[in-house]
Amino acid sequence: MALVKRRLKIKVGAVFFSLLVLCALASADAASDSSPDFKAMVQQDVDAFRTYFKVRFSKVAFAEYKNGVYAIDSASREQWLEMEDFPPYEFAVDEGEELFEMPFANGKTYADCFANGGEGIRQNYPYFDSQQGEVITLELAINKCREANGEKPLAYKKGPLAAISAYMASTSEGNKFAVEVPDEAAYQAYVEGKKFFYSKRGQLNFSCADCHLRVAGQKLRADITSPALGQPTGFPVYRAKWEELGTLHRRYAGCNKNIRAKPLPAQGRAYRNLEYFQSVMSQGLEINGPSSRK
C-alpha cells in the first residue's frame, strides 16, 4: 500500500517531497528503537519480505520459492523438470562425495571439522561467528577446514569446492533454512548484507532488489527474473550457461557484471554479508541444492 502511494507521488512529480518524507520515516524508525530487540527486528523484515512476494504471486505457495524462477514461470519450469529428472550435476555430487571422504595429509577428513560429520547441515550456513566477528558461509568453512589441516584453500567459484558444497547440500535436501541473527554484531553484518541488496550499483544503476524484488517475474532483456525469496536454497547450481557447477558467489559476480558493476571478491565480506541477509530472508524454505539453472 505504501509502495503504491509512493509511486503515485513520483508520478505526480513530488519526488523530492516523497523522498524527504521517507527519510524522515526511516530515521524515525531508527530513533524509536532505543533498546533494540534484534531478533524481533529481523523477524519483522522476514515477515514483510514474505508478505511482499505473497501479494505479488498470490498463487505461489511459500514452499515453492526454493525452486527459484521455476516457482513462478510455468513455461521454463517444464524444461527445468526435464533437466532435474537426470541432472548433469549428479557427476559433481559424486565427485564432491569422493573429495569429502578423501583424508587430508594428516589423516583427518572434512567430517572432523563439521557438526554431525558434515551431513545434513547445509541449512545452518551461513552463520555468524561471534568470536571472529564475521559471517561464515559453508564454502568458507570448507576452506577453513582445509587450512586448519595444513591443506591449501580451494578456489571459490567452481571446481572441487563447488563439488564438495554440492555434496554437502545434497545430504541436507529437504532440511529447512535455519539461519539466525543472534546478537548485535550479527545484526550489523545482516544490515550490511541488506544494504548491499537494496543499493543501486553499476552503470545500469540496478540494485538486487530492483530485479529480484520489484520486477521479479517480469521480463528483463530475454529472461524472467527470479524472486529474491529462496534464491540461496538451490546453490551450488549447474547452469546451462556455464555448462558446469558454480557457487552462489560466482552467481553474485555474474549478476554484478550484468548491471556493469565491478564484481566483488567471492567470499569477501560484502558477498558473505549479502548471502547472510538472503539466507535469513529464506528461512523456513527447504534446501534443494544442487540444482540446475539456465
Binding site: R201, K257, R260, K262
Partner: protein, 102 residues
Amino acid sequence: MNKVKWLLYIVLSMTLISSGRLYADIVVKPILEEARATLSKATARDFEWTTTRKLIKEAEAALASGDEDKSLKLAKAALNEAEKSLVQANYAEAHWQDDIPR
C-alpha cells in the same frame, strides 16, 4: 606596440599548448589523474563500474600513441563515469532503505 607584444605572446603560447606534449601535460593528464583518483574512491566503497577502468586504459593508450584529442575525450568520459559512480555510492548511502518492503 604593446598590443603586438601581447598578440605575440598569445600566438606563442597557443602553438606551445597545441604542440602535443605540452597539451597532453597541461590538459589531458590532469583529467586522467582526476579520473583515476575519483575511481579509486568509488572502488574503495565497492561501487566501481566495469566500464570505467577500461576507459582510463583506452585514454592512456591514446595518449601514448600521441592522439591527444581522443585521449582527452576518453579521459573526460572516464572522469564522468567515476564521478557518477561516486554519486551512486552517496545516493545508496542515503536512499538504500527506500525500496524495503514494510
